[in-house]
Symmetry: C2
Subunit: 175 residues, 2 copies
DNA sequence: TATTGTTATACTCTATAACTATA
DNA sequence: TATAGTTATAGAGTATAACAATA
């Protein structure tokens, strides 16, 4: 467990990281703001999915997701087809045009990072990325405030060897 | 220099870190949103300063700074006194009430981080904080796109021994 | 009755531009 | 003429609540 001052400093850095995000946002095409870009990125990375799944990955309310998706669909980057299994749902899918837009986004952001981080060691980029991912995990998975009977009972061996303690329900969110 | 895929992943993490920031924002007092909290934090950390200096530390436009400061001043957390040296400027200063509010903010954020990051090693918290700080530095200091005559001429020795190459104008920003 | 998704409304943060008062 | 700061306006992101269609 870290000290008080360390957490204060981390909080400050979290607050200030917004400046970097704004810088990244400024290089995006006017028709594709950051919210839309995130939608395209996640669809490209995880493949077709429903609105609710995308909202979970984005870690925002579904109403927000709906607007970003509508924006992308209006521009022909996403196709919303009805889900045969559940007529309330819609399956989201990148179009060829959407894939092209995503490639362009990737080029822009990678170029910017490559320029700004030109003096960074490979290793440090990887470490920062990993630690940021872990930070998100630590925030998303809240360890169920109330104790369950199973949590106090001895580990009745389900076969997994790599789980030292109990792994509480995770309600994981982004990716 | 890192690879393409590594930069893509870092960009994704930067985009997704917003979820953590939103979580942090949700615990703030209704009267003190994140923008105001950042103002109080920087005044507490760096002491009295002018609007323009605060805007630089926040890395936002001064118009934005002005609104956050006005919000804090309206609540008695900040005092704006005229600068004797330049009547256009105003010196910002935390009041006792502002200090109390800042202490409360610190308590809230540190408690949240301590809970969420309870299983983090001290070392990892420090590493993440350092890398985020370095990321901001790498973004803020842009190495003057155009070459200056001085940059190509031999180092005509101004006395500094610790500057291996040219240190271009930095327009540094946050802190 | 519960869930999926959409839309309306409101709030926060930010940037640009116009304006004032000084320098 | 240029700079420090304020204010008005506009745009993006998000959350809550009300709503429609379906489970």
């Amino acid at each position: 467990m870290a000290e008080h001052a360390q957490f204060e400093e981390l909080a400050r850095q979290l607050s200030a990281i917004g400046a970097v995000k704004r810088d990244m946002g400024r290089i995006l095409p006017p028709a594709c703001p950051s919210g839309t870009a995130a939608v395209l990125t996640l669809l490209g990375r995880h493949g077709d999915m429903r609105m609710s799944k995308l909202a979970e990955l984005l870690a925002v309310d579904m109403s927000v997701t709906s607007r970003h998706v509508a924006h992308a669909a209006d521009r022909g980057w996403i196709e919303r087809s009805p889900d045969p299994a559940d007529k309330r749902s819609r399956i989201l899918r990148l179009t060829a045009s959407g894939r092209a837009q995503l490639d362009e986004l990737s080029r822009l952001t990678v170029d910017l990072l490559a320029e700004r981080l030109s003096d960074w060691a490979d290793e440090d980029v990887a470490r920062l990325t990993q630690l940021m991912a872990r930070l998100r995990e630590s925030f998303d998975c809240r360890p169920a405030p109330r104790l369950t009977p199973a949590a106090t009972a001895p580990p009745s061996a389900t076969g997994t060897t790599a789980a030292p303690f109990v792994a509480p329900q995770t309600t994981r969110t982004p990716a």
